[in-house]
């Protein structure tokens, strides 16, 4: 397999280096390219798709990505293991919005409902594709406040770039305005905007 180091190179240099390597190869084979940004991964992937090359990518560490292209029926091709790192495809969480309108999940027993909700938010932190926004209103507003069992997981989501927004009217209603511990306060206008712009709404 031909290895190309394109760390520190800006677009279109990684693509140009890869094209040259493939040309020199004169036939089937594999090329591994190392780059330091996700956009370069996407531009390389775009080229591979257009050219009908096989392509996989993975994130090795912060600012280090590996792209492997397979050209033709490379007989000696190394068995490519499924990438363990995060996918480098365009950020799919862009339009996923989670709406939490209660501190319990489902109807029946409220105590059970609270346990389920805690479990739901924890499970959310573990997903490969995170939502862009979590909206909390009515009873849901309690989840982002002091002493809530869900606080740590919401903070974890926020640390991963998820926007946590709690309804200000609701905080005020429950007397929790001073107790908000994660994310920002929002209003109905913003809530409606987030919901109408969502490509996917999740309601536990």
């Amino acid at each position: 397999m031909i290895k190309i180091n394109a760390m520190g190179d800006t677009c279109p240099i990684p693509v140009v280096k890869t094209k040259n390597a493939i040309k020199d190869m004169e036939g089937a084979g594999q090329v591994e390219i190392l780059v330091d940004n996700e956009i370069a991964v996407q531009n390389l992937t775009k080229m591979a798709v257009q050219k009908n090359y096989g392509v996989i990518s993975e994130k090795l560490e912060e600012q280090k990505y590996r792209v492997v292209m397979t050209i033709g029926d490379a007989e000696d091709s190394e068995e490519i293991e499924t990438p363990q790192g995060e996918s480098c495809l365009p950020d799919a969480r862009k339009n996923m919005v989670v709406v939490i309108s209660s501190d319990t999940m489902g109807n029946g027993d409220d105590e059970l409902g609270r346990i389920l909700m805690k479990g739901f938010i924890f499970a959310l932190t573990q997903q490969d594709e995170l939502p862009s926004t979590v909206l909390l209103y009515n009873g849901g507003a309690k989840l982002s406040c002091e002493d809530a069992p869900t606080l740590e997981d919401l903070k974890s989501l926020e640390a991963q770039g998820v926007e946590i927004m709690t309804c200000g009217t609701c905080l005020n209603h429950y007397g929790l305005t001073e107790k908000l511990q994660v994310g920002s306060v929002t209003n109905m206008y913003a809530i409606v905007e987030k919901m109408t712009q969502a490509s996917l709404l999740i309601r536990p």
């Binding site: 800006t10 677009c11 279109p12 094209k19 940004n37 862009k94 920002s184 109408t196």
Partner: protein, 346 residues
């Protein structure tokens, strides 16, 4: 002048931060007390800020600066200035004053800086404005641009998002300058393509804007860093949709060839990530898709004009030598915001 400008990592509007990243930051800024005289602020993602002074006069303020995308300092100065001045035209305004913004390495030949500023100053003169000062910083890389002030009648501002269903969309310059400059950076652009791109980037949007004042323009923006589709997405404002005819898009022909060679910018991919989810392509080549996402430096005006006046406006724009085309029309909001329909062109 043996010293060349140190080539930046991505010149011109390709150096812009992505729209997605930017709006995350902007949303969190404290806004302060609202001022009714601020007619257009950054809430509306418009091209420039407009502040009403009297009932007849509002000032248009904008600034733009970036790293070089061409080697020749004089040409770079002209392009950077034309690009900065463009925002005033996109608001329907007239240029009055401009201030230089300069970042320049202390160790570099000052004649290079002189050439950059000469190019900029000539453009300001052509715009009918006056260069009235500036600010410079010693920096490792060259950057240049202008802070521009213009005026506009408060009732004749061109917002970027007030288009109406039925409006025709007119684009006044060819797309593809970002891809051509990128190809040039890796020595794969033809001289002819590069000259065409430079000629386009050093053309002010002044004439196009002046001509349009005689027509009913509902929305106008200049196509720059976010690419044609990125700026079009902002124009749709979440409440409109549009049809775009890919075979009517004015484009520098070589840009399609370079796109097929994957000489693509990071900015173009960022634009695809941002605006792509709102766009549906039908029968559009990969190269044309890339051109539609390509970040433009000193790009043309994209105008939404009242349907009945579109042909006349288009004819007048073309008569003065602009490569303007009628590229689409606005519709009521549909499931797909931007629907790009291909034709016979490759």
């Amino acid at each position: 002048m043996s010293e060349k400008i140190i080539f930046c990592k991505g010149g011109g509007c390709t150096a812009k931060l992505g729209a997605g990243v930017l709006s995350r930051v902007l949303e969190k800024l404290p806004k302060g007390a609202p001022d009714p005289n601020l007619l257009i602020g950054y809430d509306s993602k418009d091209d420039a800020a407009v502040y009403k002074i009297t009932d007849d006069v509002a000032i248009v303020q904008t600034l733009d600066f970036f790293p070089p995308m061409v080697e020749d300092p004089y040409t770079f100065g002209k392009i950077a200035a034309a690009n900065a001045l463009s925002d005033v035209y996109a608001m329907g305004g007239t240029v009055k004053t401009a201030l230089n913004i300069v970042c320049f390495p202390e160790t570099m030949d000052l004649n290079v800086l002189g050439e950059i500023m000469r190019g900029g100053s000539e453009m300001v003169m052509e715009a009918g404005g006056i260069l009235s000062g500036g600010h410079s910083i010693a920096d490792s890389d060259v950057k240049y641009g202008l802070s521009v002030t213009g005026v506009v009648h408060p009732e004749h501002i061109y917002p970027n998002n007030q288009g109406k269903p039925g409006d025709k969309l007119i684009l006044t310059k060819k797309l593809g300058v970002g891809i051509v400059c990128t190809a040039n950076r890796v020595q794969q652009a033809s001289e002819a393509a590069m000259s065409e791109a430079i000629a386009s980037m050093t053309t002010l949007n002044k004439k196009a804007s002046e001509i349009s004042h005689r027509y009913e323009i509902h929305a106008c923006t200049d196509v720059t860093g976010f690419g044609f589709l990125g700026h079009l997405h902002e124009m749709m404002d979440g409440r409109l949709s549009c049809h775009i005819y890919a075979d009517q898009i004015p484009v520098i022909d070589s840009a399609l060839d370079y796109a097929d060679e994957f000489l693509l910018t990071a900015g173009g991919q960022r634009n695809r990530n941002h605006a792509g989810p709102h766009v549906k392509f039908e029968n559009v080549s990969f190269a044309m898709e890339e051109v539609l996402f390509d970040p433009q430096t000193s790009g043309g005006l994209l105008m939404a004009v009242k349907a009945e006046q579109a042909e006349e406006l288009l004819a007048e724009l073309q008569d003065c030598g602009l490569p303007a085309r009628l590229v689409g029309e606005i519709t009521e909001k549909k499931e797909t915001e931007i629907y790009v329909i291909g034709g016979n062109r490759k």
